[in-house]
């Protein structure tokens, strides 16, 4: 369950940034090709926030779609499946986005 370590990283980064004060919300971006499951992250977040300034915080998760460029046909297209195939059948793709794991912002009192 790597989402536990991901959740802990989120909390650690937020505390490093804003200290131990009360946090109302945290907004993160979990790309659909990142390998992190948003629901699992929500579950783990609730576990790891206890005893921190984030314990009442809301976790807002944006899940941007992936985009890829096909080196075979030159097409650029949306892609949410980890088995990456271009509609032309080629697997020779360059992933342009969708793998990001980012903390966007924190709402504090």
């Amino acid at each position: 369950m790597h989402e536990l370590a991901i959740a802990e990283s989120v909390v650690g980064a937020v505390v490093d940034k804003v200290g131990d004060g009360a946090v109302v919300a945290v907004r993160v971006e979990i790309g659909r090709l990142s390998g992190v499951v948003a629901d699992s992250l929500r579950f783990c977040f609730e576990v790891v926030v206890n005893g921190t300034g984030l314990q009442d915080a809301r976790l807002d998760i944006d899940e941007p779609s992936g985009r890829a460029y096909c080196r075979t046909c030159g097409d650029e297209f949306e892609l949410d499946d980890p088995i990456m195939l271009c509609p032309c059948g080629s697997a020779d793709l360059e992933v342009l986005s969708g793998q990001q794991l980012r903390i966007i912002s924190v709402e504090v009192v």
């Binding site: 369950m1 790597h2 536990l4 370590a5 991901i6 802990e8 990283s9 989120v10 650690g12 980064a13 937020v14 505390v15 940034k17 804003v18 131990d20 004060g21 009360a22 109302v24 993160v28 390998g35 992190v36 783990c44 576990v47 790891v48 206890n50 005893g51 921190t52 300034g53 980890p82 088995i83 990456m84 195939l85 697997a91 020779d92 990001q100 794991l101 980012r102 903390i103 966007i104 912002s105 924190v106 709402e107 504090v108 009192v109």
Partner: protein, 289 residues
């Protein structure tokens, strides 16, 4: 809270690091190894709604003599932009590990697979085969036990065991601690046997020079399709236990085609660590690191 197992201990306290000696004693570093984690004591208290941040216990009085009526309003919030990678801390530590290893001419190889694919057997044979040319040392990752570390020690190689407790992968901090204990000499080859798991280790950079994913023919040929994130990170895929192909239902072509779909430029070698088939190609690959 500990990121490894979710226990209430400070980060890293659920992880045990053991140097496996050739003597009849072992020692763990439970009592001191990770105590200097980050002790950010969360000292906030309930009811601290008023914003004048007095120290706990400081003498002061409330409620009288202010002379001004205060209106209690909903606290306003402000948004702080962070715009940072969630794994920035791990990746920073991994970069430091990588820098230190490269500077000293040490090549670290991260071995990842499901449990039982033959990582430890592969390492036993590899250490014996390449040990004359380049000193090989090992960092073992497992949730519990020293079993694998004892097998590696029997080859004469120096080994450090990292037990992750409930943790499902090694991270860059564990790698850093493991390297500090292992103290590999300049120019050596360090193998990291990651926790047997085709999911979680894929996301965590340790600072290694190369990532090797091992799949054995006693598993399903569809493993690459089921665990694409892991196979996408591989610099090399080893298809192990090929000596068992006559006895198992494993479609090699299907497996290779699935790997190619997930990582078209993946290098794949077919080996039998126990019988020696294909192992020279693996040793040649290692020699180029």
């Amino acid at each position: 809270m500990c990121s490894t197992c979710g226990c209430g201990q400070p980060d890293g306290a659920g992880t045990r690091l053991t140097v496996v000696h050739g003597h009849d004693h072992e020692h763990s570093h439970d009592d001191h190894e990770h105590a200097a984690g980050h002790g950010h004591g969360h000292g906030h208290e309930d009811g601290s709604g008023h914003g004048h941040g007095h120290e706990a216990g400081a003498a002061h009085e409330h409620g009288r003599g202010h002379g001004v009526e205060k209106v209690i309003a909903e606290p306003e919030t402000r948004t702080v932009l962070l715009e940072q990678e969630i794994l920035a801390k791990n990746d920073g530590l991994a970069a430091a590990n990588r820098h230190s290893l490269v500077e000293r001419g040490i090549s670290a190889v991260n071995l990842m697979s499901s449990p039982g694919s033959g990582k430890t057997t592969l390492l036993e044979h590899t250490i014996r085969a390449v040990g004359d040319r380049r000193q090989a040392l090992v960092i073992e990752g497992d949730q519990e036990t020293l079993y694998d570390a004892e097998r590696i020690r029997a080859t004469g190689s120096k080994v450090v065991q990292i037990n992750t407790g409930a943790g499902c992968h090694l991270d860059a901090q564990m790698m850093s601690s493991g390297l500090a204990e292992l103290d590999p000499p300049d120019g050596s080859l360090v193998f990291v046997e990651n926790v047997g798991n085709l999911v979680c280790p894929a996301l965590f950079d340790l600072g290694e020079a190369a990532r090797v994913v091992i799949i054995s023919v006693t598993e399903g040929a569809d493993k690459p399709a089921k665990y694409p994130y892991m196979f996408r990170t591989a610099d090399l895929v080893l298809l192990n236990k090929i000596d068992l192909l006559p006895y198992v239902d494993f479609d090699v072509e299907l497996c290779l085609s699935l790997i190619a779909r997930i990582k078209p430029d993946a290098k794949i070698l077919q080996v039998s660590a126990t019988k020696g088939d294909g192992m020279d190609a693996w040793y040649d690959w290692l020699a180029k690191l």
